[in-house]
């Protein structure tokens, strides 16, 4: 089969069966891309996770673009990215029509009242998981940034874009200053 078409179909399958998004799709990518198609090896998958963590955008898009490019260049990247997006695009388009029509019905209204409490619980879980992944190193620095970004975003209503840029720059400055101190200490 044509490699670009194969990329498209494989990532469409991955896109259609990844619920909850994010890291849930990594095992699926690994199985399809490494074991079944042998396009990439296990080390590449670790790289994809590392890249996705340090670049903006959903991990699904990052992974599809990366695998597509490595396998078949620019056209491959396009095909894999379109493939991974298409299932959600079609499903959400369909749902949006249904949701708009049914939202005013009492049954749906009550169901969503309950569901909102569950969404809050899911966010709390995500918050705890992310907190655990950060707190290991550089504790005072990390806690300060966490508190700062929480207060700025939640209470002072500062645009999240500025918070992201500010904290990124702050992290960069901090690491440069620390490196200088360390090299001075070694002298």
């Amino acid at each position: 089969m044509n490699k670009n078409l194969d990329l498209f179909l494989t990532f469409m399958k991955i896109g259609a069966f990844t619920f909850g998004g994010g890291y849930a799709m990594i095992p699926l990518i690994q199985k399809e891309v490494c074991e079944n198609k042998k396009w990439l090896n296990e080390k590449d998958i670790t790289d994809i996770v590392a890249i996705s963590e340090s670049t903006p955008g959903p991990i699904a898009i990052n992974a599809a673009t990366f695998v597509g490019y490595k396998t078949s260049g620019f056209l491959g990247a396009c095909m894999a990215t379109i493939g991974v997006v298409l299932p959600s695009f079609l499903i959400i388009s369909l749902i949006s029509m249904i949701l708009t029509q049914f939202q005013s019905i009492k049954v749906v209204h009550y169901a969503f009242m309950g569901i909102r409490a569950a969404v809050l619980a899911l966010i709390l879980k995500a918050l705890w998981m992310m907190f655990k992944s950060v707190k290991k190193k550089k504790k005072p620095f990390s806690y300060a940034i966490m508190g700062l970004s929480l207060v700025l975003t939640a209470f002072l209503k500062i645009d999240a874009v500025f918070v992201i840029i500010g904290c990124g720059l702050f992290g960069l400055l901090w690491s440069i200053l620390n490196r200088k101190e360390q090299s001075n200490g070694a002298d």
């Binding site: 959903p58 708009t100 009242m113 409490a117 874009v161 901090w174």
Partner: protein, 188 residues
């Protein structure tokens, strides 16, 4: 004009979302509310829809807002906007990945970004909590209403389930059933 605005807003969301999913909620909430595309409650409802359907929250949200504001063309444009930044950045990085991975500058920036993302998920939690428990704004009368206590209990139960690694779709289904029971039982 509306389509260009749609494209630019989702381009911005796509370019500044780190850590995926819930970390982008504060940005999405402020943008869609400012443009009058969705209410806070609709954003929370849509998070549940997105958890129960395949695909990343960001892409789902873009498609949903796009189709509501500009039909199928709007959906395509908003989705394109959210995908484009990651697509371009990954293409650039894929060419010089080894250099990028070892870069101390990237490491430094990430040491600031990761905790910032935690703080932003915390902000999302606070804002969704307000929507769930105080839909009509903060007031003392809320504490005497039955629905407040039902939702507090439901939140406690679903939190325990979430931490016990029960699948999100099961949790959402269960809470929908309890929401129905409470709604009809208490005559809310």
């Amino acid at each position: 004009m509306a389509l260009i605005e749609l494209f630019l807003v989702f381009l911005k969301i796509g370019a500044f979302t780190f850590g995926g999913g819930y970390a982008m909620l504060p940005l999405i909430q402020s943008e869609v509310e400012r443009h009058g595309w969705l209410t806070q409650a609709e954003v929370v409802d849509f998070v549940a829809v997105s958890e129960s359907t395949p695909g990343p929250l960001a892409v789902n949200m873009a498609t949903f807002v796009g189709i509501r504001t500009g039909g199928v063309l709007g959906a395509i444009i908003a989705t394109l906007g959210i995908v484009l930044p990651s697509f371009i950045i990954i293409l650039i990085i894929a060419k010089c990945f080894e250099k990028y991975k070892k870069s101390k500058a990237v490491g430094g920036i990430m040491s600031g970004l990761k905790p910032a993302v935690v703080g932003m998920i915390g902000a999302a939690f606070i804002s969704v909590a307000k929507t769930v428990f105080f839909p009509a704004g903060l007031s003392v009368s809320v504490f005497s209403s039955a629905s407040f206590w039902v939702f507090l209990e439901l939140f406690a139960v679903t939190t325990v389930l979430a931490f016990k690694k029960v699948h999100p779709i099961k949790i959402i289904l269960l809470s929908a059933v309890i929401g129905l029971g409470a709604g009809y039982g208490l005559g809310l």
